[in-house]
Symmetry: C2
Subunit: 339 residues, 2 copies
Amino acid sequence: MKIALDAMGGDHGPEELIAGALLAVERANVSVCLVGDEALLKNHLANLHPKDDVASRIQIVHASQVVEMHDHPVDAIRKKRDSSIMVAFDLHKKGEVEAVVSAGNSGATLAAGVRNLGRLAGISRPGIASIFPTLKKPVVMMDVGANVDCRAVHLYQFAIMASAFSRMFTSDKPRVGLLSNGEETGKGNILVKETYTLLQNSNLNFIGNVEGRDVFQGEVDVIVCDGFVGNICLKISEGLAEASMKMLRDEIVKSLPAKIGYLFALPAFRRFKKRVSYDEYGGAPLLGMDGIGIVSHGKSNARAIMNAILEAKQMKDLRVNERIVAGIAASTEVNGIKE
Amino acid sequence: MKIALDAMGGDHGPEELIAGALLAVERANVSVCLVGDEALLKNHLANLHPKDDVASRIQIVHASQVVEMHDHPVDAIRKKRDSSIMVAFDLHKKGEVEAVVSAGNSGATLAAGVRNLGRLAGISRPGIASIFPTLKKPVVMMDVGANVDCRAVHLYQFAIMASAFSRMFTSDKPRVGLLSNGEETGKGNILVKETYTLLQNSNLNFIGNVEGRDVFQGEVDVIVCDGFVGNICLKISEGLAEASMKMLRDEIVKSLPAKIGYLFALPAFRRFKKRVSYDEYGGAPLLGMDGIGIVSHGKSNARAIMNAILEAKQMKDLRVNERIVAGIAASTEVNGIKE
């Protein structure tokens, strides 16, 4: 399987991204097409001294422009036709690659994907899902930012798409929860109450409303919400994790015994960090477009990029898109639910 | 100042609550009226052996019923007229106390408060604010659960109410942020975009949109959102904090050096815990009703109850409700904004 990597996105620059591509090629039966400034990428690639068998599975395709993090997604892909992310999805459209991975502007990546590849049959609104670590298996939340104003049928389709994707983590029928301000039936805003009815009448494994505190418990495989709420959940979790670590560090450096104690406990802290780190979970899948796309965190290191590339491969191997299409078709035929 | 304490709410039972009342009476110039089952409360109070000067500022008022955590708020206060929370707000209405503190059902507490005391002049929707610890000063978020479907004018009023309350933490003009899925103007769902315009044209110190990750940075004093989003923020933060601590503990107990190291670092962990614990922040103020009410977390220990009682006193001393009324009046006169 060949996967395009937008080698110009991300906060750490091309070399870290290319290092991730090399790790992925070493680890799995994939080849990677690096998209970006050809001379620059060649240079970085040479600096990393890949072995011949690895180098033979790395290709470079030139793109003259870059979509920046602060660019407006739709404007950017309209104006920057030769940007690395547009060129990457163009390769996908032509069938030269089967997936795209980017650590760049997530809105622009989704927009470029949908523009080049179109939507899967029956999908009204493609979106971005995110993988949250929990006390048990990871949970898939959708949408986390692409669709801020939604109708119930959109949330219902997010449930189908995220259920298909959660096959990555569970072989059972995934348990779907609807994010609300209380567990009891009847809790929620108007959108949630309407979505509740649709999910209840569907053939998904709907377990009812879940609250914010349930997100990290691991008692549910899929959490459905609109992109406004999902984006806030994602960012508040990141913000709290960072702030807590900073506060804890501030307290530890205040005393010598605490510093010594911390050194003893360091391997435990590292295991904990690994358990909750997004480096280990690849990236956020773009679901609902007719192809495979993964958006990695801007801060992604090589390991995170490797995991995103492996995740793209797994999405193909598990036939996630075919499952989505089948799920939508079944919901229209069996449950009569359509836009 | 005399404050009524709903002595039947909370997960730890009346004795912990009464212990909190005793701490508050020792600490500040307040007296407390315990509301609940008279015989039971007398018994618990005697067990705690308060000194005479403390005991003289504790009074007991009988209430024969209790609103349970799972009771539907509005139904509960309609059916349980002699519940501790209804009796407590009845004392407030009669002027026998000037504030009510409860660690019970928050929806029922707000409903009982609004029913007995009414709303402040010009307020459409009273709500619940919550105090979040940050890297700097605490931030006040409103609404966190009372109003799940809101219009822009409601969020605008939350901004006025929370700004008045944030006087607890800042003497400057509080910086108001609007919770959104991006910082840039124009980001947000329909509700947020409409609210943005109102806040921009107000005389509040509006700094624009803030993201989930900004909540814990301490660069803003007030964060405005609807009660659906706010409730999820509150619970996801609690859930993540609990899950992280559990995961970290799991990793630490796996190795002896880590356990020893943890013991050395324990005082630092305790200081960290104190810094982020809701025990230290009193409780969530009910804002917009014509009186003072604080809802403490169900898990509140005596220290948290003491802080909630002191918070109620501070709300009176800082004339929070007068500030709210003045803020609403100014917004109607100067900005022409009203429901």
